[in-house]
Amino acid sequence: MTKSTSRWVGASLARKQDLRLVTGHGRYTDDISVPGMLHAAMLRSPHAHARIKSVDVSRARALPGVHAVLTGEDAKRYWGPLAPTIDIGMKVPTVYALATDKVYYMGEPVVAIAADTRYLAEDALEFIDVEYEVLPAVTDTEAALAPGAPLLYPEWGDNVQCAWGMSVGAVDETFARADHVFEFRLPQHRYSGASLEGRAALAHYDAYNRKLTLHCSTQAPNLVRTLVAQTFRFPEHDVQVIAPDIGGGYGNKLQADAEVIPCLLSLATGRPVKWTESRQENLLSGMQCRDYVWYLKVAVSKDGILQGLDAQVLGNVGCDGTCHAAGAGKFLVAAGYVPGPYKWHAFRVATKVAVSNKAPSGAYRGYGKDIANYPLEVAMSRMADALGLSPAEFRRRNFVGKDEFPYQQISGPVYDSGDYAQCLAKLLELVDYDEVKQRQAATQGKSAKYLGIGIASMLEPSGGAVPSCIFNSYEVATVRLMPEGGVLVLTGHQDIGQGSETTLCQVVADELGLTPDDVRVVYGDTNAVPYGLGPWSSRGATFNVSCIAEAARRLKANLFEVVANLWQCEAAGLVAADGAIVEPGGRRMTLRELGNKLHLWPGAFGVVPKHVANPFEVTHYWTSPIASWTPDELGRIRLYTTHPSGSSAIIVEVDAETGKIEVKDVAIVDDCGVIINPTIVEGQLHGGYVQGIGGALMEEFHYDERGQLWNTDLTSYLHPLATDVPDIKCDHVISPSPYTTLGTKGMGEGSTIMPCAAMVNAVEDALKPFGVRVDQLPLTPERVIRLLKTSSIWREMYEVGA
């Protein structure tokens, strides 16, 4: 396949979808209304762990304007347990989208109502009486794993949903003869994407067509269709899922949990039913993420070379991480990637994933790669400090070198390409690291404001292919030439704000010598596109772009055969450029002319030679050339296709009197291989990084020990605002990937992976005079002061009333 010169890949094209979005003509799920539509609301459990003794819905059913009131038991007539989204050696509970005998977390739906308006549906909730027998609850990860903890699923005998581990090399000997052994305990709290558009689903079961149509705010329409069909035991080919514009997903919208409830209500009433969740419902029962604690042991030689890593991560997936959502899998990914971008001689890891009385756990920008990055990048800076090395120098000594690729990491994955040292070097230049350190030295202690800089490097495994789960291992897409010479791309990928509606046009335009305006991407309708899997683990720029580029190339090859036959010349000599197929120095046929010839004048019989495959459209199946599920001799497998990388820095000013952290500057250097649209890439870096800063400083789902959630509105679940973050400087290193068609690597998650570690490193750097070690996130002002109070130096300087 001749690689065409890239005119559009690499261009910062303005986005096609922006015209409708800036004028208010976007079409999000809640914007859609259909005649006869009812509205759903759900009664949710006020208790975290309780048996349902009785549910009396008689008064609610009698209310005018109420058309259906269904309990978990009623619903069993229509559906089975929630279909599992993942089962890699996990305990899969039998759970329903409406609680039946037991509730497992505060906010779990117990009764579903369909009424004329959302107002009436909410009114009707107060006419339902549920009698609960409250059970003891457990929310802390280590408490849930301890013997004697209240069990969510007694038949399990414990609260462990899955466990896994591996060991490579002489671990114990390496630690025995190491010059230094460092130990760390590094927890991270629970928070999530909390997109501005919550979940929304408009379901319509048409009995006369035996067809269920579901409009839904989802990142994966095809996956939702399969899960809905499985949960209802309904023929999948009679389900259609339509995903219009999506108001942000970030990984949270990859399953069919409460989305099946409007389907239930439509089956029960025979009418379309729309459910648009309130912010409370999203915070109580939307997917929640992170929530883990690492125990790390690192063996280092006296000249600062990493020898051995012995790690354990205990994860908390709330009530379930298999059926409500696929969150359990992220701790397997975390365990496999904790070695990060560094070289090791011996490695041992174990993970145990606990269930507890909290909301279900899904994916959020990272799915384990963020979990893997956090402990090691904090440990690297703390160890550098202990060894008297700069954080950058200690990393540089241990990076995989740029000439060692493809490099098989000790835990199994093959890193495709990169230049980790150059990313770091460019970062230090971009943020003017030395100047900041000089300024820090000159100002330290002169006022209550302490300057600090923290760095973190990262690895962003992308293009995932995970066995026995919805995040599977292929992509299918179609590229179709229209009679008038335009091109349609039919893809299961979903634009959730990352701009694929535009970037995929740039790819196809280059392949077929067209302009992006000649190409339209069709997505978001399971009856109109092949079975593609949607955006997660940056699948767009890896699986999807490769699949579509290769489909376009195959279509071009077939078109060249047709033209070569017409012109009686060699197909190999032809090129596609400026909207036409060209014989260098000779004849030229526009795609419009070719399209008309193929379809109309004279039509296929007249122009298509017998041996040419379909010149109209090509549907291509692409899978990763490097991912592999067959264990190698050490039992290791490879789940990801490419390994983008990068480094970033945060500069903070910590007020030692109030504990407030001000983020003064942020710089990111990213290596995501070939860049399709630089402006869109930088937009992802800005947005992802600020989400990470939110997690580090202010976002938290705080459950007390009884399982009561304290963050049920936006006065207590705090997103970063425009005033909380500065402008962000970006730069790039480009190491094309050998494993994708265009050398692209994906970059949707990397910028969210780094900020927590960089923030902890920055705050510890700023407060070095007080010897502070962060033991808990988020770093609210209160928590910073609690840390500082442990320092006698601080108490002398700042204790009030001392």
Binding site: P46, G107, Q280, L284, R706, Q708, T712
Partner: protein
Amino acid sequence: MKFEGESEVSGTPPVVWDALIDPKVIERCTPGCQSLAVVGPDDFELVTKIGIASISGTYKGRMRIAEKLVGERYVMSAEGAGPIGTMSVVGIVTLQDNGDATRVAYSFEATVGGAMTGLAQRALLPIAKLLTKQFFKRVEKVIAGEDLPAEEVGS
């Protein structure tokens, strides 16, 4: 969240004691109480309509009196659920003879739950304190035979 307090209630301890554990008195003295059903010995189900400041709504609650030491002390536990969420209060009420009046001291531990813990949590403790003060003031009036004002403070 803890809250304590005490009230001077005219009447001797035995008189005050009888009033405090009498369901009919509890029904009349609990601010906004719409109904009280005796479901067992010292076990009552109440429906109260709260109208304090902008917090208003109907709350279904369960109140139990236990560990009674006649004339001296008892343990009161109550849970309520309503629009604001769930709230449970457990505490000890003690009576001391103070000449012609009885000093009633209470020390309660309140735990809050339900969806509204975020916004409304700031209001729950102060309101719980206010309702408790009002309760004991109304008990005093009942003992003294005075009629009860319809609505205390609060718009």
